[in-house]
């Protein structure tokens, strides 16, 4: 514990400085001394000390004035004031100005040990607390939301305004566009950020499981309910609940959900005690909820209850400007997590990615980059590292010639431009294949 704590002793008496210095050095603290308040403040400007043990009566600036200045320099510094002439007034003043404690010289060795141990404990707890808070913020940091394109900027603006409010949000977008990340971003920037964001993937659970998952259950509520269990609504108290694939829930669950959203009250499965929880709902779906309402699959009242704010995330093919940024981001992410030196991507491969349609959106791009880093040469991602062959087909091709050209090009790439093997696969002779290559002006990839 002491290895991490540093102490600055401020006293105009050399013998006091020396005594304390030797005492704390033997305890393994990092110790420095100053003979005046001025000297101490200049040390504090260049170095950081956890504890300042300072005399009150010193020539020039006194200890109390120094205490006030230390607190403006670094609020969390623990300052202990010492004096040989104790008065109640100075003690009260010192404590009012933020001193951790006030002791009268000389001290009992045991008191000094206790005092420093208590101060160290407080410093360590404060550090731990700050560390945990930072970790919490980091956990919820939404650095995966990368993009400078106009559609993405609009999404970020919507996230910001959604975070300021407490209303329900529906996030729509194709699979793999990052709906959960947007939900996390809303939560992380809201006033609920120090409370949990509880995610439930509604599509992955049967009706009865989802019911028990959301509302919790009492012991013996059903076979296998061996213990009382809190539901996700209860866990999300003061925080947010993220209901993914909301369109998949049954009509019965829609009714129950509507009731909970309106009252914020519910009863555990098999229980009779009403539980109140203060949560904010964020939903996501890749379906068109409005058309599901029109077709009677999704309840209109629930739809309007949820649809206070809507954020639509554009598919990746509509924001190709973001692809270079995303590629850089995923390279950085995976090289770091695999403990590998950073790789680059060659311009042809990047160009091809920008032309690609990405039906699986960012998730597909992310997987592609991860795979390329795993199988690549560790220096540069090139076209051969990317599983793009199938996708070189231009979806806008309508003529037979265009389709033939694309198909031949795909097969040639598949067999690394080995003419014999490609011709065999295409079930034509080599001369025909040469003629087609010439006709369509096909060339190997760079």
């Amino acid at each position: 514990m002491t290895e991490q704590i540093s102490i600055l002793i401020v006293d105009d008496e050399e013998s006091v400085r020396d005594s304390l210095y030797n005492w704390f050095i033997e305890d393994g603290y990092r110790v420095a001394t100053a003979e005046s308040a001025k000297g101490a403040l200049s040390l504090l400007e260049s170095d950081q000390f956890d504890i300042v043990l300072a005399d009150i009566k010193m020539p020039g600036m006194d200890g109390l004035e120094m205490l006030r200045l230390i607190k403006t320099l670094r609020q969390e510094t623990v300052v202990i004031m010492m004096t040989a002439f104790a008065t109640v007034e100075t003690a009260v003043q010192a404590l009012k100005d933020g001193a951790f404690d006030y002791v009268t010289k000389p001290f009992d060795p045991d008191d000094l040990s206790h005092l420093i141990r208590n101060a160290s404990r407080q410093i360590i707890l404060t550090r731990e607390n700050e560390g945990l808070k930072a970790r919490m913020v980091n956990l919820e940091k939404v650095e995966d939301l990368v993009g400078k394109s106009v559609p993405m900027q609009q999404v970020l603006e919507q996230i910001e305004s959604a975070a300021q409010s407490n209303s329900s949000v529906i996030i729509t977008g194709e699979s793999g566009t990052g709906k959960e990340l947007v939900a996390r971003a809303i939560h992380a920037n809201s006033s609920r950020r120090f409370f949990p964001l509880v995610a439930v993937h509604c599509g992955a659970l049967t009706e009865s499981l989802l019911e028990s998952e959301l509302f919790g259950h009492e012991k013996g509520a059903f076979t296998g309910a061996l213990y009382n269990r809190k539901g996700r609504f209860e866990m999300a108290d003061n925080g947010s609940i993220f209901l993914d694939e909301i369109a998949t829930i049954s009509t019965k669950m829609q009714i129950e959900l509507l009731r909970v959203l309106e009252t914020k009250k519910f009863v555990r499965v098999g229980g009779n005690k009403e539980i109140t929880s203060d949560f904010r709902v964020i939903c996501a779906t890749n379906k068109d909820l409005k058309s599901l309402v029109e077709s009677g699959v999704f309840r209109e009242d629930l739809y309007y209850r949820l649809n206070v704010l809507t954020i639509n995330i554009p598919p990746l093919r509509e924001r190709t400007d973001d692809i270079p940024l995303l590629v850089d981001y995923f390279i950085q992410k995976y090289c770091t997590s695999m403990n590998r030196p950073l790789v680059t991507i060659d311009s042809a491969a990047l160009r091809r990615l920008e032309e690609f349609q990405f039906p699986g959106n960012i998730r597909e791009l992310e997987n592609m980059i991860e795979r390329a880093i795993v199988i690549g040469n560790g220096k540069k991602i090139s076209l051969k590292d990317l599983p793009l062959e199938k996708n070189l087909i231009d979806s806008s091709a309508e003529s037979l010639d265009d389709h033939e050209k694309n198909h031949i090009f795909q097969i040639l790439n598949k067999y690394s431009w080995n003419i014999s093997r490609s011709a065999k696969a295409l079930q034509v002779d080599r001369v025909t294949l040469y003629n087609k290559i010439k006709k369509y002006n096909l060339k190997p990839l760079e």
Partner: protein
């Protein structure tokens, strides 16, 4: 490998032979180096603070170091007077960390100082621990968190009783004693 210096125990004032010899034996057995015992003479009144009615440990340590210490050994001054340093009400002993000299006093180590019956054996054991502790500082050891290590900080006698007379394996390794 670190060459360990011999140790000289210097008794100042009246300290019974029966107390010094077991301490020298304990020190020898703990540090495995030659231990010499001798008597020293100094005018203790120079270190007496009438306001506190105690002896200034800082001045005494510096004096013993200057007059009796040498670079060829670790010197330990043994006293029977009440020691203090300006900031603390009392000390059992002190030493120069990684230096050549330390001092210790048995003044506050006897049970009779705390209203109990005199127990010479207990006092001698506490003094041994205190001397080994201060010598540990001269060998560069700081306080240890192991509750039974002799290098654990002890600010009252019960704390001294809780620890053993020996360095823990970690302190032993740190100081180069194996």
């Amino acid at each position: 490998m670190m060459v360990q210096l011999p140790i000289t125990l210097i008794s100042f004032g009246y300290l019974q032979k029966g107390i010094i010899d077991p301490i020298a034996a304990d020190v020898r057995s703990e540090f495995k180096v030659p231990v010499t015992v001798r008597e020293g003479h100094l005018d203790l009144s120079l270190f007496y603070d009438p306001a506190r009615r105690q002896y200034n440990g800082n001045h005494l340590l510096r004096y013993v170091d200057g007059e009796f210490g040498n670079d060829g050994c670790k010197t330990m001054g043994l006293f029977s007077v009440d020691l203090f340093i300006p900031i603390l009400t009392y000390i059992f002993g002190q030493a120069f960390l990684n230096g050549r000299t330390g001092i210790a006093s048995l003044y506050r180590l006897g049970d009779e100082k705390y209203g109990m019956a005199e127990d010479e054996g207990k006092m001698s054991e506490r003094f041994s621990k205190e001397v080994i502790h201060e010598l540990g500082h001269t060998f560069g050891l700081v306080h240890c968190h192991n509750p039974v290590c002799v290098m654990r900080s002890g600010t009252y006698v019960e704390e001294i009783d809780q620890k053993e007379r020996h360095l823990c394996s970690r302190c032993r390794e740190h100081s180069g004693f194996h």
